[in-house]
Amino acid sequence: MLQEPFANGNSFIHNLDPRIRILFAFFFAIIVATTWHLSALLWAFFFVVVVFVLTKLNMRDILKRILVVNTFIVLLVIILPFSYPGQVIYALGPLTLTKQGFFYALYIFLKSNLILTCVILLLSTTSIFSLAHALHHLHVPSKLVQLIFFTFRYIHVIYRQYQKLMRAVKLRCFTPKTNIYTYKTYAYLVASLLIKSYDRSERVYKAMVCRGFQGTFPVFRHFKMTTKDRLLSMAATIYLLFLAILAWK
C-alpha cells in the first residue's frame, strides 16, 4: 500500500535533481490546466510519452495508478455533457447532450490525465524524503514540508498498526460476516487503531524533542546540480515557454 514502487529505479529521470522535477511538474500542471488549445495538449502528451520512455517504468503499473484516479474523473465526464447548458446535439428523453458540455468534459479528462501522468512520472520516481528535502531547498514553508513528511510517516505507522491488529484478530479465528458481532469487532479495531497510532505519534514526537527538535527539518544531504541537470533544466524551460505560448496565444 505505502511502498514507493517507482522510487528505486536507475534511469535518466530517476537521477535528475528532484528540485528541477518539482518545478517542472508545477509549471507543466499550471500551463496544461489553464489552456483551451488542443494543440498545446497534444504537445503536452508528446512530452509525457517521452518522459515515460525515459523512466523505463512498466506501462501496466502506471496505467493501474492512473485508472484508480480516473474512476473519479469518469463520473464527472459522464455527467457533464448532459448537465452543461449549450447547443443541443442529441436528445434522449429528458436528457440532452450539449456540444459545449461534451468538449468541456473532454478537456477535463485530457488535462487531468496529462497532469496526473506527468506528476506520477516525475515525482513518484523520488523517495518522499528527497521530495521533502527538495521542497525545503525550494523555500516552501517549513510547516508545509513537515505536514507532508509527517502525513506520509504516520500513514505508515497507522498502516503497520492496522496490519498488526488484523493479524491478532485472525490468529483468534475471526471471520468477518454480516452481523452485529462483526461490525462491533471492526469498530473496536478502528478505535484501538486510532488510540494506538495517536500514542505512538506522541512517543515519536517526544523522541524527536529529546534530540533537540525545534520545528525545523535540518537537511543532511545536499543535492548537487550537475552539468547534466543544468543543461536539462534549460531545455525544459525552453519547452515550457513553447508550451505556454501555444497554450495562451
Binding site: R200, K206, A207, C210, R211, F213, F220
Partner: protein, 221 residues
C-alpha cells in the same frame, strides 16, 4: 558534582493515581546506576521527568547545577542527556540510518561536514560501520536498538538514560551492548529487568517501588 538531582518530586497523571510522591534522587558525574522494579511503578515516568517530557506537580528538577522549569531550560538538558526509549521503533523516524543519526547533531547546529564525520564515527562505535544508507524500518530489532543508541551518542551527551535496553535483544546483542557501554566514558542510568545485565554495566543498583529507591540486594534476592 551532581549531574541529576531530583528533590521532593511528586507526579500524578491527570485523573490517574499518584505515581511519584516526594521522590529524591541524585546521580553524580561518572556514576553508573541501575534500576529494577515491578511493572507500572513509574520508572519511565521518572526518566521522562529528568528530561522534561513530563512536568512534576511538585518538587525541584536540578540538572547540572541549575534548576530546570521551562522548555528552554530543558532544551539544553536534552542535548546533554540522551534518553533511549523502551521501543526503538518510537525513536527511529528517518528513512535512512545516516539521516537518523544526523538528526540530533544537525538540530544542535553542528555544520554538515562535521556531522558526516560524527555519523560514521558513531556507527563505528556501536559496531554498525557501513550502515549509513540502510533503511531504518527494515533493520532487525537488535540493529534498531543500536542505531537508536548511536543517534543519542552522536549528540555527545554527558549522561545516558536507557529505558529497558535489553528487552528485545538476544544474548549476542546483549554482549555487544555491554561492551559498547563499558567503552563509553559517561554516566548513565539504566532501567531494566535483567539483573545480570545491570550488574555487568553498573556500579550501583536500586530497587524502585512505591516511589522510593532501595538498595537492590536487600529487596531483591
Amino acid at each position: 558534582m551532581e549531574v541529576i538531582k531530583l528533590e521532593d518530586i511528586s507526579f500524578a497523571y491527570p485523573r490517574g493515581k499518584i505515581v511519584l510522591h516526594g521522590l529524591n534522587f541524585s546521580l553524580k558525574k561518572g556514576e553508573r546506576v541501575g534500576i529494577m522494579g515491578p511493572n507500572g511503578t513509574g520508572k519511565t515516568t521518572f526518566l521522562q521527568i529528568i528530561v522534561g517530557l513530563l512536568k512534576p506537580q511538585a518538587g525541584r528538577v536540578v540538572i547540572m547545577g541549575k534548576e530546570r522549569q521551562t522548555e528552554t531550560d530543558f532544551y539544553e538538558v536534552r542535548s546533554k542527556i540522551g534518553f533511549m526509549f523502551q521501543d526503538p521503533d518510537d525513536q527511529l523516524f528517518c528513512p535512512t540510518v545516516a539521516e537518523e543519526i544526523a538528526f540530533g547533531p544537525l538540530n544542535l547546529g553542528i555544520p554538515r561536514q562535521e556531522v558526516a564525520k560524527i555519523v560514521s564515527r558513531t556507527l563505528g562505535l556501536v559496531g554498525l560501520a557501513g550502515f549509513e544508507d540502510r533503511v531504518t524500518y527494515k533493520l532487525s530489532g537488535g540493529e534498531k536498538r543500536l542505531v537508536a543508541l548511536a543517534s543519542l551518542l552522536a549528540m555527545q551527551p554527558e549522561v545516558l538514560l536507557l529505558d529497558e535496553p535489553t528487552g528485545d535483544l538476544d544474548p549476542q546483542n546483549i554482549k555487544r551492548l555491554v561492551s559498547i557501554l563499558s567503552r563509553l566514558s559517561l554516566s548513565y542510568l539504566i532501567v531494566s529487568h535483567d539483573k545480570q545485565f545491570l550488574q555487568q554495566v553498573t556500579q550501583k543498583q536500586f530497587w524502585f517501588e512505591d516511589g522510593r529507591f532501595l538498595p537492590l540486594d536487600t529487596f531483591h534476592p
